[in-house]
Symmetry: C2
Subunit: 428 residues, 2 copies
């Protein structure tokens, strides 16, 4: 049996408490599986005295996470505070500088400063592991970085924010509009303090940025992603999509194109009967496609004490076993800038609009679509009692630039009562 | 950059050829990701001259896989011959004795001789890795042994034989009987040379035996599993199950009970809308449940050149990075005998029978079921024109012993036209 692996844990919220519970409850299992005792030397959090329902009196206390990160009796700094800057960044940098390995659940920190942190970690010959940062308990970082190491990755997809998936499936199941379900979620405490992180697609975008880097060997670059949230999705969209055999998901999609990487986190229509379409409630799902493996799908809880702490412990056990590898799959000096693709891969689109109820309105729309090179697969005009007529169009595959031009042309016809909605249909 | 990792590959069937293709095509990617060049020193197969559509002239040839395993220029022996004994066993033992790491896709070998091989490997300080042996491209061995290392595993489930899943879904989709679909599969070359390995549940049982050991820290013991194939599943069972919202799957299930481990590979009814119920065609799915993670589901291709070779390469890359851990999760000396559970966890059952069409027959069956402590959830008697009446019963949860007693009592009533069919309904 080797020397113990000693942890310093910064952040005692839901996940931190979960990690403490596992280390305490499963000590025998962890040491049998890793050949080392896994111990906690010290902890740090905002308030020392809060009752968290877990014993912390055996551990040294640090008010300052930076001091925790530098302690001589800490081998692995476990960062569970969150936030892309401030104390979490300072403490992570301090840990690296002090030669400690880092295990983190902080996707925002890595999405914003991943390249610099990876370079610092390699210079200090330490590891940064972040399985818990992406899709909670789903072992997607390990699957992508290790199991699929023999593959050229062709596409990464996923539902990576459980709250958004809960909102969209709740809207569908109960026939409720977005505002009502959003209010329910606020009441239930499902949303981040700044809900835009969830419903604006930012949190999910941070996760996608990390997957893109690991999948394609590019520098982490959150700014290269197209991010769009679910705030504009209406119950009408959900119901019409459902009528046509689709579900609407906040979907991350990344693939290599001829020029650059096309990476988007945005609402998409997916077939109702596909694994992604069938994902209900607050679950997460990650889909990897590679030149050898074809497609592999991973499904599980994307958040919560147990699942996220499980992921943290998986990383800790790997470090206890001495497993090390580059943070984003290849040495940070070999990561290339992830040039943003000039255009997305062509895809069919769902479009919804309100037409002025005048003779020839529909013909005008059909004409400008045709002129823009957008060909129509299906079109429906719904019965109505108001002065405007709801119209739904599903296009054949179209270049995103052509679609943008078509939407502009449609708006210039003067027959639209409001700006049309266009949602990509992703082939899964 | 370290020294190259040199492979010796025994077996140039579908998977072996797939491994050669990846090593040749993705050389740059593999060395970027592992920091080492991955090369092939020598290969071995039954016939040297067969055209396999892949270049082998650069590699030394060995007629004898044992000689290949012992070569000085081989670091990792890659065993892709198959078979639980004979050359694959001899060559694997020779590789271990010669101090080589082993990567294998051979579940039969490990299911039969896993404990002895693990002990030999630990004594020689080498690794045996077998991701490709269980569920093809799905990274389930890594997920269970590494990602979930912080969990006490509570249940393992899975569809692990794509051919059986293809047969069952083809029967359902086309309304064909078992014999017809079996004949189709023979014609298409989907079946093993000895088809009992597939349809008898043996191949899937080998895989389950490995997962059980890794999940519960027990010695690999294929003999402790209950194995039942799909040969007796009729189109009637499939249609009736479907009517009630279920699908029939050849499902592996393993869980700890109060006394011993309950591990079965057998046809089960699962809810049609669950991920397992929705798995169609030749795909595989593995479900893990742990005390922290809750449930995680992995889905992918369970066989085929690309997916299986991808799993082999994942293991090779781990070895190139120097990652090592005990073969079945904990040191082989700590693995305990996997006592077979005295009884399975209670479950509802689906039962189908033909009753003699006489007054009082149904009452007799209901009475003996009640006497045996089996309570009925749903019962249907179908219209019929023959002398016997088809009856279908879904029970409430029942101990398997009680069910066996009930079936015996039913048979002794004299009102059954043939032995009843009973299939477990697994809660997923």
């Amino acid at each position: 049996m080797c020397t113990p692996l000693r942890l310093g844990i910064a952040g005692l919220g839901t996940v931190g408490v979960g990690v403490l519970r596992i280390v305490q409850r499963q000590a025998a299992l962890l040491s049998a599986r890793t050949g080392r005792e896994i111990t906690i030397s010290a902890v740090s959090a905002r308030s020392r005295d809060r009752d968290r329902g877990v014993r912390i009196s055996d551990y040294a206390w640090e008010d300052d996470p930076v001091a925790l990160a530098r302690r001589d009796d800490v081998d692995v700094f476990v960062e569970l505070m969150g936030g892309s800057d401030g104390p979490s960044k300072a403490a992570t940098e301090a840990a690296i500088a002090a030669g400690k390995d880092v295990v983190t659940a902080n996707k925002a920190l890595l999405a914003m400063h991943g390249q610099a942190l990876a370079e610092a970690a390699e210079a200090a010959d330490v590891s940064i592991r972040y399985e818990a940062g992406v899709a909670g308990g789903i072992p997607c970082i390990k699957a992508l970085g290790e199991s699929l190491a023999g593959n050229e990755i062709t596409r990464v997809m996923g539902v990576m924010n459980g709250t958004c998936n809960y909102i969209l499936t709740r809207m569908q199941d109960a026939g409720l509009d977005y505002q009502t379900v959003f209010a329910e979620c606020e009441e239930l405490g499902y949303l981040e303090a700044d809900p835009t992180l969830d419903v604006g697609g930012i949190d999910a975008g941070h996760k996608l940025a990390l997957l893109v880097s690991l999948a394609f060997g590019t520098r982490v670059d959150y700014g290269a992603l197209q991010i769009e949230g679910i705030e504009k999705i209406t119950i009408t969209d959900i119901e019409q999509a459902s009528d046509m055999g689709y579900r609407i998901k906040l979907l991350g999609v990344a693939q290599k194109t001829g020029r650059g990487i096309d990476a988007r986190m945005s609402p998409c229509l997916v077939p109702a009967l596909s694994p992604l379409g069938q994902l209900e409630g607050p679950m997460n799902m990650i889909v990897f496609e590679g030149d050898s493996i074809g497609q592999v799908v991973l499904r599980g809880a994307g958040a919560g004490e147990g699942p996220t702490a499980s992921a943290v412990l998986g990383d800790i056990c790997d470090l206890a076993r001495g497993h090390r590898q580059p943070i984003f799959g290849i040495p940070s000096s070999d990561l290339v800038p992830g040039e943003r693709a000039a255009r997305s891969a062509p895809a069919p689109y769902y479009m919804r609009m309100e037409l002025a109820d005048k003779p020839g309105a529909l013909a005008k729309i059909a004409t400008v679509l045709g002129d823009a090179g957008v060909s129509i697969d299906r079109m429906r005009q719904y019965g109505h009692e108001s002065a405007t007529a709801p119209v739904l169009i599903v296009t054949h595959k179209v270049q995103s630039d052509d679609l943008v031009r078509a939407v502009e042309a449609m708006e210039s016809t003067g027959v639209l009562a409001s700006a049309p909605v266009a949602i990509r249909i992703e082939e899964v």
